[in-house]
Symmetry: C2
Subunit: 210 residues, 2 copies
């Protein structure tokens, strides 16, 4: 009779899951809108769905806006749905320079003292005193993923991304645990370019100090 | 009488030098021109010096050109001097996308099969079949620096750059040893943005596996 060491098998399974690939989503500049701001920019309209995103219920909307800063304009900026309780604009450092603004590197929703911008549609315009950030890199995961990875909400981890000649170990990657979200690392276009990512089937690996 | 342990002091000095800060230079898109190509673009002119660069004898020239690709134009592109034996254009992945070209990530001078582009001045234009690259990140150092760091020409190292919340460990950083050059790491604008660099007094540290 063979003996099964259940503990050893479990340890191996956990080890494999702990080192599994984390899908990478590359965020180009985009806008989240509150219901009030959406209604000002698109009176009488509903937010249309153009393309579903990886996160359940999230989507690229059919409507787009322009961003106008002191030094430049970026057209064709996608609104991401659903509607939020607050309006937030996310750009890369490259795009911030084009616009002539200096947004801080922040997590979503942390907008106190962030940069301002004008958001323009074909029907109207709104001016934000604050609301523009460069997104702090992060990984969304659900509670079960967090248990398997052995990490907690708001913890920072190191993630190895890309292939030679542009492999990067991103430090300061914030874990965001949410039961509603699936495993996905978010990088902006500057970060994706620095790691030579292709924009399709990119993955990272959380590197634990072991 | 106190005893001086010269070996221990030397070891400490070497350790300090091995971990000293490496100045980071951020390269925006630029062009190196051969004498023939310069003469076609600026007939009868000499390459003027606008600003000396960190490397001895290198300079931003007073003349600029435009780059035209299938999808876009980038104006006001600086020529870097002195004149080279070959023409080479360096852009970031962000800028390559604007131009609509797909240059490979390469070291300077490794242009076989690289991307093409049109270079335009107020006096003329030339079309390169190849010559456009995204620069592979690298560190210039002289022979003495290489000895102190314990590295060799063409070796790849890991370099820690930036501060929270955007610290990055760049892997695949190529060492370039040249007796004429001073210690300087070169990153492009995408890489600098990914690491949250300010563009002034930025430094990195070579991380050795010890």
């Amino acid at each position: 009779m063979s003996v099964v060491d259940a503990g050893a098998i479990a340890a191996k399974v956990v080890d494999v899951l702990r080192h599994r690939a984390v899908p990478v989503g590359i965020s180009n500049r985009h806008v989240h809108l509150s219901q009030d701001d959406f209604a000002r920019l698109f009176p009488g309209q509903n937010l249309g769905v153009s393309k579903p995103l990886a996160q359940p219920g999230h989507f690229a909307a059919s409507q787009t806006v322009s961003l106008r800063g002191p030094k430049g304009v970026i057209n064709n900026v996608r609104i991401l749905g659903p509607i939020r309780t607050y309006t937030q604009v996310e750009v890369s450092a490259t795009q911030a320079r084009e616009l002539g603004i200096k947004p801080p590197v922040r997590m979503s929703g942390d907008l106190e003292g962030s940069a301002g911008i004008e958001i323009i549609s074909e029907h109207g315009a709104i001016t934000l005193e604050q609301g523009v950030i460069i997104a702090k890199r992060h990984i969304h995961m659900n509670t079960f993923d967090a248990l398997l990875f052995g990490v907690e909400d708001c913890q920072s981890v190191n993630v190895l991304v890309g292939e030679a000649p542009r492999t990067v170990l991103f430090k300061d990657v914030v874990i965001r645990v949410d039961p509603q979200l699936v495993l996905e690392m978010h990088l902006d276009t500057d970060e994706a370019n620095a790691a030579g990512l292709k924009g399709a089937n990119d993955v990272g690996e959380i590197v634990f100090q072991e």
